[in-house]
Every structure is written in structure tokens, then in C-alpha cells.
Subunit: 197 residues, 2 copies
Amino acid sequence: MNRMKTPRPLTNLELALLGLIQQEPRAGYDLCKIFETTPMGHYSSSPGAIYPALKRLENRELLAGTVERAGSMRPRRVYSLTPSGLEELEAWASQAVTHEDLVWRSEELILRFSFMGQLVDRSIICRFLREVADGIDALLLGLEAHHGTMLDSRLPPGVLPTGRLALELGMESYQGLARWARRALAELADVELDDKG
Amino acid sequence: MNRMKTPRPLTNLELALLGLIQQEPRAGYDLCKIFETTPMGHYSSSPGAIYPALKRLENRELLAGTVERAGSMRPRRVYSLTPSGLEELEAWASQAVTHEDLVWRSEELILRFSFMGQLVDRSIICRFLREVADGIDALLLGLEAHHGTMLDSRLPPGVLPTGRLALELGMESYQGLARWARRALAELADVELDDKG
DNA sequence: AAAGGCATGTAAGGTGTTACATGATTGT
DNA sequence: ACAATCATGTAACACCTTACATGCCTTT
């Protein structure tokens, strides 16, 4: 029987690194630059996090590093995905969207979507978008209940209802995400028509 | 000269705890329940984070704990804000909104707003909302530049533009936040009229 | 008597943050 | 010669996550 310790799940940073390296082989410094200069930088920060993460991924054999400028004191390590690294990424991209993903890991969800185009085919991307949209509809029911209790509760005079307004922002963010998902779904259907035309 | 080590900034969890305890004195267990059962739970997780955070805040003398059921093996510690705790909270709530806050600490920003009603007066709340709305307008200029480059870059045939769509989601989220801020501003102006009426 | 909620905590482990260190290469 | 950029890393520290431990009190 295939019995091995289940490895801890990958962090957002590790997933971002795998996705970027799948686009093309890259060195640590290249990745630092991407995080510094693009909105992808939302998922990282600094060499102090990136280099250790690359080493972890190499230890897990999801990445393989080949050394350029060998013999020099400052070699440049260029990483590529290993077959099992690609497998891991594709499995990640193909997962179903859970309630927990939407509530606790929405950033990972967006990261996942942004790499899906390179990793999986249209049917899986569309399923992802439908699951996001439908999952949010379910979430909103719970939030509306809380919103109702906040509308009922009376505040001391002079205290402005910022707590309620903050909750409304949360609800609107979810609604915006659902609208985006449905619009993206429609756009991807158009792309399909373009391909045929 | 008043020379003391600048203390590290408070974490989101610590700020949430201070804000909740300012509403009324609470024990660790009460706080756990709030995080488990309300959307405030977004900011925490588990006793394993909450109890150490309470202890840290007590060491800093931002909280003071009084022991109920003393002598028992399982005492109940009820925490209240100290004067300097209240000072710290109010200073936090009164800060100007920076570019960095919007890009890197948007969750803290929402937390801040949700407690502002209890902590500061209308003028500061309205300034906060204006700074959020205007700050986002500036941010969006940079994101639109990136969006332009993504529209120009050609993808390999068959690869769907999920990266671009993800960026569009990010931009729409910011736009939604700005719209919310302006709407909240209008609503708070109405409350002012109600008070006078 | 057992189960479940009240109530507080500790321990191990891993990750991110910040700051620092090092040296090579390229441009002026 | 000097500065900036390329390029990789380490060390200290603090925090969160998960899992576990403990014992009281109330209900069934």
C-alpha cells in the first residue's frame, strides 16, 4: 500500500513560485524582481522569504535547480518544475472550491485562478467560476442573517454604525466577486466562439 | 527627553481584542466565542492564538485582568482596557490612511473602521473614508498601467487569459471599496441630519 | 454516570519579517 | 575608482497553527 506521510499543504508563496516557474525557468533574483514590480507582489515580500521557500520546494523535489556560472563564488541557480512539481500544480488548480476556501483562503483562490489558464483546460476553469459564484450565494445567506441582527441592535446615541458599514463592505465584496465570476464565465464562452470563428 | 524603545506594532488579532474589550470587559472564553460565531472570526482562529495575545497585551499594560473565582483551580480572568490601552486604540483609529495601508494592510483598515464608531468622532471617520476613496483613485492608475501591458501581451493559443481576469478582479475590488467609502460618507452625513431633526 | 459546554492554558513546529552580510558584474 | 545593480543567502525574532491537557459545572 502507498503509505507516506501527508506533506503539509503548500503556502501561498510556494504556490506563487511554482506557478511563475512553470511559465519559464527562473532564478531567485528573477522572482524577487517580479514580486517587487508587479501586482503579484501581493504574495510576497522579500528575499528572506523567497530563498528559503525555493530551498523547501527543491527538498520536496517539486523544483530542480541547475547552477549557471558554476565554480564562481556567486552561482546563479535557475529552477525548473520537476514532473511531480507540475503534477502537484495541476492537482492544485483542479481542486473543487470549498466553503473554507471562500471564507478563509480567498487569496489562494485568486492565485489559483490566475495560473489556471496555463495549467488546466477550459472546462475546469469554468467549473471553478461556477463554484465560486454559487458558493458565494450560500455564504451571503449567513452574512445577511448577521446583518439583520446588527440593524436591529440599537447603538448608544452619538455612536456611528461603523461596525454595520464594515459588514456591508464585506457582503458587497463577496457580491462583487460573484458578479466577476459570472462575467468571466461569459467572457470565456466568447473566447470559445472566437476560436471556432 | 522621553526616550523609550518603540514597541512593535500591534497585530490584527491584538487590535481586534482591544476593540472588543473596549466595548465591555470580557474574558478569553467570551472572545473565543465571538470569533467562532461572528464575521469578526475572520481575524482569528483559536484559543492557541488568543490567550497568548491577551497575555502580551497585559504585559504591555494595555489590558488589566481581574480574576473571578479566585482560589479555584480554573479562575476566570476578565480583561478591561487600561487608560493607556484606550489611548493606544484611539491613536490607532485616528491615524491617516497611507498608500501602504491600502496595498498591504487592507484587513487592518477594515478592522480599524469597524471600531471607529466607538472610538473617535464623526470628523475623523469622514476623513478616513475620504482618504480611502482618494487613495484608491491613485492606486488604480498604477494597476491600469499593468492592465494595459497585459492586454497587449499575446498569450499562446489555447491559453485562456486568467491572469488578466484576476488582475481585473483586483481592480474591481478596489473600485468597490472606493464606492463603498463614498456611499458610507453620504450615509453618515444623513445621520448627522437625523440627529439635528 | 456520562456527555457536553465552560474556561484556561502549553508545546512543537513552521513560516514570514526585518535586518544584515557577501561578493560579482556592469556602467560612468 | 565608484556606484548601482546583480545575486544569494543567514540569523534573530515573533507570530500563528495544530494538537493536546486540565478540570469545573450543568444537564440528561
